[in-house]
Amino acid sequence: MALFLLQRLGTLLITLLVASLLVFLVMEVLPGDPAAIILGVNARADTLAALRAEMGLDRPAWERYLLWLGGLVTGDLGRSYTYGVTVWELVAERIGLSLPLALMAIVLSTVLAIPLGVLAAARRNKAADVGVMGFTQLGIAIPNFWFAILLILLFAVHWQVLPAGGFAGWDAGFWPALKTLLLPAVALALPQAAILARVTRSSVLETLGEDYVRTARAKGLSRRAALWHHAVRNALIPVVTIMGLQFSFLLAGTIIIENVFYLPGLGRLIFQAIAQRDLIVVKDLVILLAASVVVVNFLVDLLYAVLDPRLRGGGHVL
């Protein structure tokens, strides 16, 4: 188990290093001089040179990469040109929105998808299955921003029960803040839940055909007990894998959804930073998002070991 953990941890660090290098290189080949963008086209040559020196742009690329990497490790993410504050402050301000939003979307998608997928598998080719499969097909086909607009039209414009956009802030109280995040979370969760429900269904169908499910039935367990006690846990291993992979799509989704709902979160920040060529912010945010994806997938690996004792090691009885 310790070896398994160490291996995964090593993979995690290497992946992060490669990701940081990639992010840096992409920013390098991007045309345009950040200093020139900040100062505008009419800047004097000596001012430009001074700013370039201040920003370290006159140093060689490898030196700037190492400086950036060192900053990442020590927590010094640099300062945004457009906002005039450190990137840490920007992130700290917005993560209070984006993290709860992502968590809500994951929880929603999971509590929707897994029971629906299990239900569809248990009632294979019956009405419930056909219904679930039909809705998930829709969920996969329809993009989340369209869902977002539909949800705004229904809940904010027509019924007027939830706000159409903006974030109340946690200072306004738990429920008012949560209310502003509800529609965005649903819009993010639905397409993910659709995919997850399908994966769950096919995975449960596969495990239902396993010998140990028949063994459980031979012990006298009812169909339902055999399903929940023996098939579902084994079926969750591929489901968890997909959840880990979906996390990156979820983050990409927040960029769109936070724009649709005017939420001042990380997704919107990265969108604005790109539009304003605030390259330090873009670089830091991309590596931060990459890191969160890698860490989530590391957690997924750990979850495998919880779900499947075969991965925990433990040798044969001799």
Binding site: R214, R217, K219, G220, L221, A225, V317
Partner: protein, 328 residues
């Protein structure tokens, strides 16, 4: 008084190519404490018979006839009543110990599960009894902790766990469906000895399904030879082995390797039975074995042969059976 009595059990499977007959009027009786071996090649309906008794046939299966167990016709019972019997009065040991156990549950949990389900025992009490069961099947403590997972055991050890699970609720009937097929030779002998040990001297009846005549010879008092969903020959094991009457039974013996040295001379070449098992979608009108039978005659083809009694306790479904002792 028989414990289990099948009367004209016929099972058809609905398939895209139409109904396929997998069991055709199978009848037999099994008394408490008795042992019955069912032998035949793959696809002859041995496992289907076992699954029919368990009530675990695939959803596409249709049954006719009767399966009387402890004076109830199992085919008329609802799912709830069957669940109360399965694992409690009828238990089953499966062919593949590698896949019959749930890989993510401990062996202690899996052995205790039936006890908790049928007797409503608490976790502690059920697991205490599971320990005794593991001990009884040759997995003593503390070496074989109940907290082990199946992947930490060998094939033979896993089959012992499966047997412990089957014995948990002290069933009246134990069905062993090719319990040794997936095991290596030394484990095979140990597992058969274990099954013999746990059924001997108890009122537990044993239905042992195998494709191996030697296993029947060594382990059961009565036997049934099945071919293409029908019973070809039946009787007391010693009697059937002494005077094999059905051409199929003799063909099966001639095709059997090893372990029959007391019956077969050394250095004998293994024979094969020419031809194919009939297609279950398109069974012949007459004897199902006619297409492969060396003794086939014109009267075998119009209608299936009825069962005839050769001596009390030995019957054969053949119009032209072999007579006399099994040649050695």
């Amino acid at each position: 008084m028989s414990l289990l009595s099948l009367q004209d059990l016929t099972v058809t499977l609905d398939t895209p190519e139409g109904p396929a007959t997998v069991l055709d009027r199978v009848s037999f009786d099994l008394a408490p404490g008795e042992s019955l071996g069912i032998v035949g090649e793959s696809g002859c309906g041995k496992s289907m018979t076992a699954l029919a008794v368990m009530g675990l046939l695939p959803a596409a299966a249709r049954c006719r006839g009767r399966i009387d167990f402890e004076d109830q016709d199992l085919l008329t019972l609802d799912e709830r009543a069957l669940c109360a019997l399965r694992g409690r009065r009828i238990a089953m040991v499966f062919q593949e110990p590698m896949t019959a156990l749930n890989p993510v549950k401990t062996i202690g949990f899996q052995v205790a599960e039936g006890l908790r389900w049928h007797f409503g025992l608490g976790r502690g009490e059920a697991e205490a009894r599971a320990l005794k069961l593991l001990d009884r099947v040759g997995l003593p403590q503390p070496r074989f902790s109940p907290d082990l997972y199946p992947h930490q055991l060998s094939g033979g050890q896993r089959q012992r766990v499966v047997i412990a699970m089957a014995l948990a609720c002290d069933p009246a009937l134990l069905i062993a469906d090719e319990p040794t097929t997936a095991l290596d030779v030394t484990s095979q002998a140990e597992i058969l000895a274990l099954i013999a040990e746990v059924t001997a001297g108890s009122k537990m009846a044993l239905m042992l399904i195998t494709h191996d005549l030697a296993v029947v010879w060594q382990n059961t008092a009565a036997m049934l030879v099945m071919y293409a969903g029908t019973v070809a020959e039946r009787g007391a094991t010693a009697e059937v082995f002494a005077r094999m009457a059905h051409p199929y039974t003799r063909g099966l013996l001639a095709a059997s390797p090893g372990a029959l040295e007391d019956i077969l001379p050394a250095g004998r070449r293994l024979a094969t039975i020419p031809g194919q098992v009939p297609d279950p979608h398109d069974r012949p009108q007459g004897c199902v074995f006619a297409g492969r039978c060396p003794r086939v005659a014109d009267d075998c083809l119009p209608c299936p042969p009825g069962e005839r009694l050769l001596v009390p306790g030995h019957a054969v479904a053949c119009l032209h059976p072999h007579e006399g002792e099994t040649p050695s």
